[in-house]
């Protein structure tokens, strides 16, 4: 289902024009639009020498990895290659064993080997620039779709409730669920839950949105509706998107850049045409052959 084809979407014919006199902002990210997304200054996400060990198992090996503002990057690779760990470190769900991570110029992690990990004020502030969509949706099951979405804007950003509700309704329409505001997650299909989860992440106006295998937990017939929403986002916002996925064709279609991971390192990085049509590395070739065969 294409979101804008949803009969419940009153948004379809809505002019995108901003209020007179107001600056033109992106409806989804709340960031100014019209200007080139890449501003002077470095990458929006920067991993410097980041390692992650689980006991003897080195999940990430002195990783250096950058993402530019507005870039849509897909991370592919065999399971256990460390690709999900990158997202989890960015979301502060896991800590690196060593290394630095900067987001939008601010420190997220600065860990030396053997440091004791604790949450800092700086980390908490930096974390707000990031949003995440989980494989298992992780909606709050005892709240309606609308309550799920307004929870953080109201209690983290301090937005007033009426404003948060309006915005949540708008976001639900954007993901084609305008008619499902008052449904709770158990009343929604997996695909619908994931779309609510995307709306919930967007409500915080993140600069960087992470997708951790967003369709892996879905029945095959529900994958399309979620991919449609992500595709629309990718095409219509300046938001930086970082996605771990097994949907190779989708990655090829929406990404500015695809990064192949194996054994904790980025093996190859390049535009989707290169990675999928003309991979330079043997390991990329072998991986793609294995996953695209069936």
């Amino acid at each position: 289902m294409h979101p804008s084809n949803d009969p419940g979407s009153a948004d379809a014919g809505r002019p995108d024009a901003p209020l007179p006199g107001g600056p033109r902002t992106d409806r989804i990210t709340g960031l100014p639009t019209g200007s080139a997304p890449i501003v002077a200054g470095g990458p929006i996400v920067a991993f410097d020498n980041v390692s992650k060990n689980w006991g003897d198992n080195q999940v990430l090996k002195a990783l250096n990895f950058n993402v530019n503002p507005g870039e849509k990057v897909s991370i592919i690779g065999p399971s256990g290659s460390g690709k999900t760990t990158i997202l989890r470190i960015l979301m502060t769900l896991e800590s690196p064993t060593e290394g630095q991570v900067h987001v939008d110029g601010d420190v997220l992690w600065n860990v030396k080997h053997g440091d004791k990990i604790r949450e800092t004020k700086v980390m908490r502030a930096t974390r707000r620039k990031i949003g995440m969509v989980f494989q298992g949706f992780n909606l709050f099951p005892h709240m309606t779709a609308l309550e799920n979405i307004i929870e953080a804007p109201v209690h983290v950003l301090g937005m007033n409730k009426a404003e948060a509700r309006d915005r949540a309704a708008e976001l639900l329409q954007l993901v084609g669920l305008g008619a499902h505001m008052n449904h709770t997650p158990p009343q929604l299909s997996g695909g619908q839950q994931q779309r609510v989860a995307i709306a919930r992440a967007l409500a915080m106006r993140p600069k960087v949105l992470l997708f951790d295998e967003p369709t892996s937990a879905l029945d095959p017939e529900l994958i399309g509706e979620v991919l449609n929403v992500i595709r629309n986002l990718a095409n219509s916002t300046d938001m930086t998107m970082l996605m771990v996925t097994h949907e190779m064709r989708f990655a090829e279609e929406i990404s500015d850049r695809v990064v192949m991971f194996d054994h904790g390192s980025a093996v190859e990085s390049g535009p989707p045409e290169q990675i999928f049509k003309n991979p330079q590395e043997e390991r990329t070739r072998a991986f793609l052959q294995a996953v695209l065969k069936h």
């Binding site: 769900l93 929870e151 915080m204």
Partner: protein
């Protein structure tokens, strides 16, 4: 000893008075236990240095000693050190504290039952810790343990008879005092038992209903 119907009927008002005290003990005790138990479970989970281990120790200590001894100490020993309350208040507080240790374990299982994904979603949304607990974790955790809390309420209802030992005049103590003054134990004790059953049986049925209602949805 032969059952005397007329005598049995004559003591009903006294026994009902005792039953009412028992019900009050149970409801107030459950309230204390439910709140203290929740606080204890959360503190243990927060892993606060010194405080969390102390709470853990208290839970083990309370669970490891009989309610009767705790009640005796509170009622007969503490007054020596200047801490004294009437029998009813002491009884409510002691049984409440005693059960809070068990309820803390129940809450703990409920909190553990909330999926890691819920914590991760709260982190991803930068929800403050207090908000995460109160709005995300506890509503889900408490919901799943409501039937277990109900079972403890029923158990407390029967256990409160122990408090007759510290002179709380509840149902059991009433039956005993009727026995000592009339030398007839058959009727008062039998009827006290029947009254316990009369309340606890429907209560158990109610808990079973709650169990079905709050069973985790698949």
């Amino acid at each position: 000893m032969i059952w005397d119907n007329a005598f049995a009927i004559s003591i009903i008002p006294m026994l009902l008075k005792g039953l009412w005290v028992t019900i009050q003990l149970t409801l107030l005790g459950t309230l204390i236990a439910a709140v203290l138990g929740l606080v204890a479970a959360v503190i243990r989970r927060l892993n606060i240095p010194v405080v969390s281990p102390l709470v853990s120790f208290m839970v083990i200590f309370i669970r490891g000693t009989p309610l009767l001894i705790q009640a005796y100490v509170a009622f007969f020993v503490l007054p020596i050190y200047g801490i004294s309350f009437n029998a009813f208040t002491t009884g409510v507080v002691i049984i409440g504290i005693n059960y809070s240790a068990y309820m803390a374990e129940v809450y703990r299982s409920g909190i553990q039952g909330v999926s890691v994904g819920q914590w991760e979603a709260a982190t991803a949304l930068s929800l403050p810790t207090v908000r995460t607990w109160c709005r995300v974790i506890l509503p889900q955790a408490v919901r799943t343990v409501i039937p277990m809390l109900g079972n403890y309420l029923i158990q407390m209802f029967k256990d409160s008879a122990v408090l007759s030992a510290i002179t709380v005049v509840e149902l059991m103590a009433t039956a005993q005092s009727i026995g000592t003054s009339t030398y007839r134990y058959l009727e008062p004790l039998t009827m006290a038992g029947a009254l316990f059953l009369l309340v606890s049986y429907p209560a158990s049925r109610l808990v079973n209903k709650l169990e079905r209602r709050y069973a985790p949805k698949q």
